[in-house]
């Protein structure tokens, strides 16, 4: 079980807000700390991983918990 240091509730937000808020929230963490991101935007299943790949952050997991219910764990790497 990965330890979560901060949770970002980005539910009911649509593109591009989940990524913009994730970026802000991650920057507030220390290196190696983990951000949990909750979203309802189906586009975030593609966008959050694209954002982590581009910025060199670590995507620990991307889960679809149910219809329009997504959870991501991202570790700050830089």
């Amino acid at each position: 079980m990965t330890e979560v240091h901060q949770t970002l509730d980005a539910r009911n937000l649509s593109c591009p807000m989940p990524v913009l808020k994730s970026k802000k929230a991650l920057k507030a963490l220390e290196i190696n700390q983990v951000l949990e991101i909750l979203t309802t935007d189906p586009g975030s299943m593609a966008d959050i991983p694209a954002w982590t790949r581009t910025t060199g952050q670590e995507l620990i997991s991307a889960e679809e918990l149910g219809p329009k219910d997504y959870r991501f764990l991202v570790r700050r790497r830089n």
Partner: protein
């Protein structure tokens, strides 16, 4: 081993950030979203971004006009309320299409254009107003929002020549 560690530590700072250059030339509400959505997201993806606002695109950084951007139902079969052009000409139809578009966006929880533009400014997106267009349209510098710069074709090209992504909107 030591080398790979030092590489991974120094890489982010040594690597040149990706760069995106956008020309925003349209001044309607529907066209306003694309540049600010892409610019704010690119900034969140650690890219350097500049938007060059030219011709009608200047509306998007005009203090007053940017608060009342509209969607035209004329010659716009994809408008929120597609109507024949002859109907679209009736007074009030532009207001109606604009109202419908705003309602669409709200229903889909899309953040407002003005808020996205603020995010762009906060995250360091450079907003450049086209000086020549301002002269043509009689727009003064103080009519533009705070935080933007003025420049011409050369200013945009100087930034865009090293861009990884260049878009005309």
């Amino acid at each position: 081993m030591t080398e790979s560690i030092s590489q991974s530590i120094t890489l982010p700072s040594e690597e040149k950030p990706k760069r995106m250059a956008i020309i925003a030339s349209a001044g309607t509400l529907d066209a306003a979203y694309t540049p600010v959505i892409l610019a704010s997201t690119a900034a969140a993806m650690d890219m350097e971004v500049a938007i060059f606002f030219t011709f009608y695109g200047l509306n998007l950084i005009h203090k007053k006009k940017s608060k009342k951007l509209k969607v035209s139902p004329i010659a716009n079969p994809a408008a929120p309320m597609p109507v024949p052009n002859i109907i679209g000409m009736i007074p009030g139809m532009t207001g109606m299409a604009t109202w419908m578009m705003n309602r669409w966006m709200k229903k889909a929880n899309v953040i407002k254009f003005l808020e996205l533009r603020d995010v762009c400014l906060e995250s360091g997106v450079r907003m450049i107003g086209c000086q020549m267009t301002m002269d043509v349209m009689g727009i003064k510098e103080e009519e533009l929002i705070d935080g933007c710069e003025l420049g011409g074709a050369a200013s945009f090209l100087e930034f865009a020549k090293d861009a990884d992504i260049t878009l005309f909107m």
